[in-house]
């Protein structure tokens, strides 16, 4: 029973994640929605990737611009392993195939980390950027391992399952991704409590003192980098299982940037932050990009808003409420939140409307697209619609300011009360 009590959050997450695909279940045909399952699997994979990235950024204070190199190399290793098993070179259960990616990530993590971890801070970041550019360009040059522009395709139905599962359907793959995501996440969580994880924190906060205590920060960085490569490689291995193809863009800077975005938006300070961030980023990328061609702009704006106003990330914002919850007055924030909500919504809608209008005039019109809201065609040149957008944006901004001031007063009063009651803020 104590196991359940200690790990209720993980169990709850597992139950929710298993239930979510059934929201999109097509009961008439008795089939899962392929799109939803692929999206969820992608979230699972990218969550492992972002967590492994946070082993570097959050735990060791190392900002890597080339983390996708380890992810991608893990993918390629897995793809080759699957093809070798298919060809009968050796036998391996399909459930353990992502481990090959992990080992690939581990080996390349050690090799590349040996170079990168010679330095820290900015120099480390620049080395990883250089390595990222080098490896992703090498992927186009060396056909034998990387398969050139076409990449390497696999067939994940290998018939070597331990449990007799074929992995022909997205649902089976999703379950595999989920299991591996839980294994990887719990291992990474445990790693934060090992001596290595602790000393990595120490070198992040003050590497000179860590040296005086007798640890070599270089070795700490190298071990942390190598382990993080292992988990990135597992994520890469699962990625191949989902898409059955791996191309050179899995190694690229855009993929690395994804991990960075996810870890920062979610909050690098807490262990679970990157998972939250991944959900936001993947939904933005896969969901919004279907509707709008300007999704990259939204990512950029969201990012800047987070950096400017909430550098602690989503998980940090949630964590800020803890003292108020402790004194049991969280309910008093509901009304201020509800009052601020329409103002924030108005700002957002005004902004989105104007961006969409502008992007329709230049990009959409060139592609022959029409602009329509709820089926009604809208003339993008009319000043009325632009006026509505502008009013929503500017009027909403003033409104939000007023509400924010009110919210601030309420918040400060509650925090003050929490302090008086002796709750640590």
């Amino acid at each position: 029973m104590s196991f359940v009590r200690r790990n209720w959050l993980w169990l709850l997450a597992a139950i929710i994640l298993l239930a979510v695909p059934f929201l999109f279940y097509d009961w008439t045909k008795g089939r899962h929605s392929g799109f939803a399952l692929t999206l969820l699997s992608e979230i699972g994979v990218m969550a492992i990737f972002a967590l492994s990235f946070n082993m570097l950024m959050g735990q060791a204070g190392l900002l890597s611009f080339g983390h996708a190199v380890l992810f991608g190399l893990g993918s390629y290793c897995t793809a080759h392993a699957i093809n070798a098993v298919k060809a009968g070179t050796f036998w391996m259960p399909i459930e353990l195939v992502p481990l090959v990616g992990g080992l690939g990530g581990l080996v390349f993590g050690y090799l590349l980390g040996w170079l990168a971890t010679k330095q820290r801070a900015t120099a480390f970041a620049m080395i990883t950027m250089g390595l990222g550019e080098l490896v992703s360009a090498a992927a186009l040059m060396f056909m034998a391992f990387f398969g050139g522009e076409g990449g390497i395709s696999i067939d994940r139905v290998m018939g070597t399952s331990l449990f007799g599962i074929s992995y022909a359907t997205p649902w089976q793959v999703y379950c595999l991704v989920l299991i591996w995501a839980f294994i990887a996440a719990s291992l990474m969580k445990l790693q934060t409590e090992t001596p290595l994880g602790r000393i990595a924190n120490a070198t992040r906060d003050n590497f000179e003192r860590a040296q005086f205590v007798g640890y070599d920060p270089r070795i700490v960085r190298l071990l942390q980098f190598t382990l993080s490569g292992f988990f990135a490689g597992i994520a890469g291995g699962l990625y191949v299982m989902i898409y059955e193809i791996v191309t050179f863009d899995t190694l690229g800077a855009a993929k690395s940037a994804n991990a960075l975005l996810a870890a920062y938006i979610g909050g690098a300070g807490g262990f679970f932050g990157p998972i939250l961030g991944t959900i936001v980023v993947v939904l933005l990328q896969s969901g919004v990009s279907l509707i709008s061609s300007a999704w990259l702009l939204y990512v950029g704006v969201l990012f800047i808003v987070m950096v400017m106003f909430a550098p602690v990330g989503l998980i940090g914002l949630i964590g800020m409420h803890t003292p108020i919850r402790r004194i049991g007055r969280l309910g008093e924030l509901v009304v201020p939140y509800l009052r601020a909500f329409p103002a924030a919504l108005s700002v957002m809608l005004g902004f989105v409307l104007m961006v969409e209008l502008a992007s329709n005039i230049t990009i959409g019109a060139a592609q022959g697209k029409k602009f329509a809201i709820a089926g009604t065609l809208i003339d993008t040149g009319s000043p009325v619609i632009w006026g509505i957008g502008l009013l929503g944006l500017i009027g909403g901004a003033f409104w939000l300011r007023i509400e924010a001031r009110r919210f601030r007063l309420r918040w400060d009063a509650l925090i003050e009360d929490a302090k008086r009651q002796g709750v640590v803020v």
Binding site: M57, M126, A294, M308, A358, T362
Partner: protein, 315 residues
């Protein structure tokens, strides 16, 4: 020989263009510690502004107006954005500029469309200046050399011979001390950021019609500029200059010489066939890895000499 001279000139032109971008970034990075990802975006903005302005009033006014506009944009970014983010640490600043780069790229796409714009060399300079061994050297390239050379001279004079230049140099290494002596360090930061952005804009004005003015130009130029800055070393304009020229020459010459390691080995009587181990690595020709050489050099110099060529402190 003719290939050598033409490549040398082209390499110089490209190197000077890199220097115009990198000099501002060096100052910003050494002084404020900000890895400014939006720097190459200012280069792109400069080119687009110049294109639009030149449609109405011609190229020559654009040469002045577009950099000033870019400088104003830079000042606004520093005053209302970076200064606020500064409290949250270096990673936050870097991510802020990263987000800006995304927004500017998308904004340019929305403003000017996805396709390259027809930003052309002014008619006055659109003639071959001279020809070497039958290859024409356009007058516009000479003009680029002239502008960038003048800019190098004025930056150097400005930093070493004027009062504000000396204060900037002091603030590069000892910002607290400069502040204690009564100078307004935040304003110096804004000034340097705006000047750096304006220089990048100027590079865009004269580079946009030399290369192609398109929404992807910032992301192709961005990493190379970082390489130059890191390779040259923090806090050293001279190092930055040497690194820019070096990178320009390397990239230009790499395209010209169509050789591979296998050719080199063949000179020593060792023939590489498809059966040789690492045959793929050995037969890669120099033009194919030309664009990679700068990154390779950056990784090597950071691993073995983290302060760069002439840097005053470690990166």
């Amino acid at each position: 020989m003719e290939v050598f001279i033409v490549s040398l000139l082209n390499g110089l032109v490209y190197g000077m263009l890199l220097f115009m971008l990198a000099s501002g970034l060096t100052l910003i990075l050494s002084m404020m510690g900000v890895l400014n990802f939006a720097h190459a975006s200012a280069y792109m903005l400069g080119a687009y502004f110049a294109y639009t302005i030149s449609l109405y009033v011609g190229f020559w006014p654009a040469l002045i107006i577009a950099p000033i506009l870019c400088g104003l944009v830079g000042a606004a970014i520093e005053m209302w954005g970076l200064r606020r983010v500064h409290r949250n640490g270096h990673i936050a600043e870097l991510l802020f500029t990263f987000g800006l780069a995304l927004i500017i790229e998308k904004g340019v796409q929305m403003g000017w469309g996805l396709l390259p714009v027809p930003y052309r060399v002014p008619a006055l300079l659109d003639f071959p200046l001279f020809s070497i061994y039958g290859t024409n050297f356009p007058a516009y390239r000479a003009f680029m050399l002239l502008i960038s050379g003048m800019m190098f001279g004025s930056i150097w004079l400005g930093l070493t011979r004027t009062r504000i230049g000396l204060v900037i140099q002091a603030a590069l290494t000892h910002p607290e001390m400069v502040g204690a002596l009564g100078h307004n360090v935040p304003r110096i930061f804004t000034l340097v950021f705006a000047a750096g952005t304006a220089l990048a804009g100027l590079a865009g004005v004269i580079g946009g019609n030399y290369q192609v003015t398109e929404p992807a130009m910032a992301f192709t130029m961005g990493p190379i500029v970082f390489v130059v800055v890191v390779f040259g070393g923090l806090g050293s304009l001279t190092g930055c200059f040497i690194a820019s020229i070096l990178m320009g020459l390397i990239q230009t010459f790499a395209v010209v010489f169509d050789v591979s390691l296998a050719d080199l080995l063949a000179k020593f009587g060792f023939i590489v066939t498809s059966q040789t181990p690492l045959a793929e690595v050995l037969t890669v020709t120099l033009p194919r890895i030309g664009a990679l050489l700068p990154f390779l050099m950056m990784v090597l110099i950071l691993v073995f000499r983290p302060r760069g060529l002439m840097g005053t402190r470690d990166t």
